[in-house]
Subunit: 153 residues, 2 copies
DNA sequence: CAGTGCTCTGACCTTCTTTGACCTTTTGTC
DNA sequence: GACAAAAGGTCAAAGAAGGTCAGAGCACTG
């Protein structure tokens, strides 16, 4: 229960609660030093505890003056989250389901007309990918990313 | 917190905003002195932050009375879109270029903040495609589709 | 006690930044 | 015109992050 990873998770979530702007910036190496572990352990924590599905968005920049930014998604959209999760169960999603889903989002005024059209264009463009499995998997993956992003802004 | 390069970028953009003529003239050595760095660092900033894709044009003159002139391009929406489309005509496009273009579309108020974020998420998700060539080609293909959609709505 | 699924580490990779040595162009002076 | 001085330009290498991945360790569970 109180593994290094869990402690780091708790610590980061506390920082997030205390943050006024809805996100926190951290230095991978410093955080690792604070918890006396290797830097890659930080990645592990981010990958397992701060995923899109759990309501977080992680951005980063490499190189000098790099950083990790953890953003907490708006809780009010929890309903939408579970909807998405249900639909995109195994990562894959069919073209029809994806389009139905976008239509629902538009009908429910969660996305604008232009946003809807844009996503339709993206879905259209997927035909460029010939491999059926890759296409379906990528569609699910991408949809998840886009929808979670829409939720957080 | 932020890097020298980012600070210099911010500074130059502020100067540009304040300029009435649409361009600014600077002395490489003086700017370097102001930021306490080597002169070639100025070139780095210009090469990475003030590119054509990002909507800037840099002219210069060497020798005595030399200077650097940074010009902000002020192209119309149609021009910007056709520029982008032209660029993608060869099919492929790099991730960086695609992101630069999206940023410009946002800066030029051709797309909303949410639409910008959405497209960034789509670009992020492309990493799911492992094949380098397929990814770059698909990126170009998709971008074209989306841009054409934007034009028509 | 073998299997399964988290944790954790370390070696190696990629990206972005910064510096410095050396090069080229332009201007001013004899 | 030759030469010196005054810019700016190029490029490779070092430094400063963060990213990836395979495998070792560990803790339950049947």
């Amino acid at each position: 229960m109180s593994s290094l990873a869990s402690n780091m998770e708790t610590y980061l979530k506390k920082l997030l609660r205390l943050s006024a702007v809805g996100y926190i910036d951290i230095k991978r190496k410093e955080l690792a030093a604070k918890f006396k572990c290797v830097p890659s352990q930080v990645n592990y924590v981010l990958e397992t505890r701060f995923t899109l599905e759990k309501g977080y968005l992680v951005e980063s920049k490499r190189g000098g003056k790099g950083y990790l930014r953890i953003r907490q998604l708006d809780v009010s959209s929890e309903e939408l989250l579970s909807m998405i999760l249900e639909e995109i169960i195994e990562g894959q999603i069919t073209d029809n389901k994806a389009r139905d889903f976008m239509q629902r989002l538009f009908d429910g005024r969660l996305i604008s007309f232009r946003e809807w059209r844009m996503m339709e264009a993206v879905l259209d463009s997927l035909n460029y990918i010939e491999d059926d499995t890759l296409r379906a998997e990528f569609r699910g993956w991408m949809l998840k990313k886009v929808l979670f992003t829409l939720i957080s802004f």
